[in-house]
Amino acid sequence: MQTAIDIRTVTKTYGTFTALHGVSLSIMDNEFFTLLGPSGCGKTTLLRMIAGFEDVTKGDILLFGQNIAALDPNLRPVNTVFQQYALFPHMSVIDNVAFGLKMKGFDLPTRRKRAGEMLDMVHLSSFADRLPAQLSGGQQQRVALARALAPQPKVLLLDEPLSALDLKLRQAMRMELKQLQQDTGITFIFVTHDQEEALTMSNRIAVMSAGHVQQIGTPRDIYESPVNRFVADFIGETNLLEVEVASITGDLAQVILPGGHSITCSTATHDPGRHHLSIRPERLTLGPVGTGLEATVDQVIYLGTDLQVLVRLDGGTPLQIRIQNAARIEVPEPGTRIGLQLEEGAARLLAD
């Protein structure tokens, strides 16, 4: 498979502040790739550097083998969907969509035809002559997509495009975006701080923090096998416990929990000593006392689809557990003594 974007040790500094520390990553052709991280992690800066809006302080950006790091944005065959869409308010929807084609020098009939097809694709044909201000947020979002896809870019960049939409629309747009990416076969680079968005749409995710790439992998890799404390904590919910490592052999570690119990789990580190252990709340199951770890129920929180059970291990360590709100479920009362079992892959020892 061909590499669409190759980012080679890219550094970005603003005065004395370093926004990106020698980031390297490769994005494959036809991939839905997500840059995920909290605000200020450098994900948007990286995206803006691919688009050409920010200068590269050091390093190279290759687009299908061609170094584009020094090119002006209008000379790069990539297009962007902006966070606030940035639709030209003085142009009709169809003129917005045709803008890139016009700048590329296509004649009017071709522009009209292609822009019309694009609007068809996002189901907005009947809105062609409206102004952007006359559309709803979701419709503006689609116009922004159609406008960015119309010139048939080699790579589409999306800068938190769903963040301005309400929850229902956001969820619907996720599926549409994914579908659009598969239909067009264009490489999508998607920036978000929303891990659920990243997990549901991406082929691969790069988790970023403080100007560094922490981990690159499929959604499953990142969720099930986080490499460090940051990734485990940022993706999904988890219990982080400081534990003593008894022994590490290959990819398995023997660790001692705060209560004195010893368990075996997968590991991301090979250094002995004290490390953090991640235990996913949905991989813990409740049972009668005497099975697994001994704990006391503190509180049960009703979340609709799930129940969150807060327990305390003997020894005082708090843990949260997620259980599905199934039809037949025994809700433990606070104060009840229970046994806790760790399912396969529930726990993972992390690097710091």
Partner: protein
Amino acid sequence: MALRSVRHYPGFFSIAMLCLIILYAPLIVVMVYSFNDSPSITNWGGLSLRWYFDVFTGPEAPRFRAAAWNSLTIAVLAATIATAIATAAALAMLRAGKFKGRSLTFALINLPLMVPEIVIAVATLIFFTMIGFTTGYLTILIAHITFCIPFAYLPIAARLQGIDGSYEAAARDLYATRAQSFFLVLLPLMAPGVISGYLLAFIISLDDFIITNFVKGAGMETLPTAIFGSVKQGIKPNIMAISTLMLGVSILFVTLSYLINRKGRQSP
């Protein structure tokens, strides 16, 4: 007790009224007496438009016509050039990032607003004399362009400040060159501010007296200096008519400037 609004302070109404009367009563007197049928400027002789006809056909008409033509052409040229310079200045101030001397530049652009007009007038005259520049139409034009720039700059910069940088980024992203991005996207978005700035500059130039009077040279008149020259030989009712006409033009342009600016703000 709830805080009382300023309207309920004792004496608020009377002071406000006093201010309004001092400001506007003279204007109203001039406007009313411009429709006076009597050649006297103090006695009311019935309603008539004779002094308006006198402005266009009376003995002073050729002088006023020539002065009005000068005023108009200078105002159009000065406003056009000042607006172009102010637009460029606003772009540099707000779109070029931080540069050395940015605060100083801002102060320089707006300096004419703060320096007393008479000081600018004297200094400009001395400057033109020193470099041996013959005073006349061109010196008036140059002086007008200079003091019109800050008036054009303010609404343009205010407008530009409200335009998100992502529009230009989007245009560049969609293969527009720098120039295309400016003329096809940024300039149309800035247009209300630019027009508003142009109209302000136009009216400031049209109304200017002090600086013009200093740098105009002999035999060269604009409408305000022509009116002043005429008044020196005694106030006639035709002066009231021509003053009212100028007031009307001023109000029209300032209102237009305001409305265009407001409309632009509603639909960014």
